[in-house]
Amino acid sequence: MSEELLQDETRQVRSVSEVTGMVKNVLESSLPSVWVEGELSNFKHHSSGHMYFTLKDDKSALPSLMFKFANQKLAFRPDNGMRVVAWGRIKVYEPQGRYQLYVERMRPSGIGALAQAFEDLKKRLADEGLFDPEHRKPLPEFPRVVAVVTSPTGAAVRDVIRVVRARAPMTEIVVIPSVVQGADAAPSIVRAIQALDAWGGADVAIVGRGGGSLEDLWAFNEEAVARAIHAARTPIISAVGHEVDVTIADFVADARAATPSNGAELAVREGADVSRRVEALDRRLSGAMRGMLAGLSDHVERLHTAYAFKLPREIIERSAQRVDEATRRASSSVAQLVAARRAEVARHETALRLSDPRGIMARGYAAVSVLPASKPLRSVDDVEAGGEVRVTVADGRLDCSVLRVSDSDGRTS
């Protein structure tokens, strides 16, 4: 051995563990997490529940594993030859001195595989009962606050604002910003839906985005998003892409909209302008009350004519005026109505008291009817001399014989 090499050896000798530790440090700190696309090979689903496989492309291979807790959430059944996109951390397995990808999330890449994943997840969630209609919460009839979980810069948020404004201008719109495309979309949407519930201020929420490719819309086909929508306490309308796009979110949401604009239409239905609604109800309330007062006035009139004597004309006119006044007040503003109303009642009660024959009799008037028929006596023509009449006074009655009948000019019949 040369002197030189010997010198080098003594200068710096490290243990295997030390070197492995250094490699581990460098690798794990520079690659905290990565998205990797590749083909599955050597796939093994171990009896422990963990999955072991190699991700490869035409030049390289990356040993990978996916623990049971992570692979239980897979939306598809992985198999050799399948192209996938995986997300995980590179870690060094020290006993064997090799590095591996610890996969936490994985989805098929490419259209065919996505379609398969969609069908698999749809079936699994359907079997679990997540799409059962009894889970669907009814949408509020008159929402005052509509939340929108979407990108704050996308077309969807503008569409929603435009439609809600046109239908019910007083409705408050709260945007809950979310990433809606790419790898971060699903967890971002989940967080936004959780924030929606934690905040709790919205009557209904639209979750969605504008149109795009199947892969653009993929987050709305992810299990985590489906479960977040299912778990949400706020009623959720899924509004993803165009009419033709159907996502897992559509099945699990409380209502499915074809587009974000349509989502806004479902949230704020035609005629859902609640201020107009309240006004209409208020008008009906006043109208019915006016009707009641008018009925009351008729009743007063009937009382006036039902008895065998005429009230002084002045009283009738005053009653009619009171009813007119009450009617006018009942048609004025809501605010004035309440105060005016009590006064109306008091006046009507007075009018009724005045028209009560007992009150009048107490002042010395009497009601006279013809016997034996007991018809009110209104005219000298109603009775002849020798006939019998009944005179009713405040505290009793007198049955009388008629001695003589004369009209107001003193002519005796």
Partner: protein, 78 residues
Amino acid sequence: MSKKKLTFEEELARLEELVERLESGELGLEESLSTFEEGTKIARGLVKVLEKAEGRVAKLTEDADGFVLEPFEPAEEA
């Protein structure tokens, strides 16, 4: 029955019910007037809530103190 605060929808439903009862014409004077009074009170309460709404557009953000609503202007169409 507990005296919990009714939601906007429940208040609205109650108002609707009162209007229908009053319109039925089957109530006596006192009942009509109390129905009318309750209905008017509810209608005024609902209008007050609506006046507060103003139809604003906001963005929900979360900071250390909890949720905050910030004014939101959608970006212009590109």
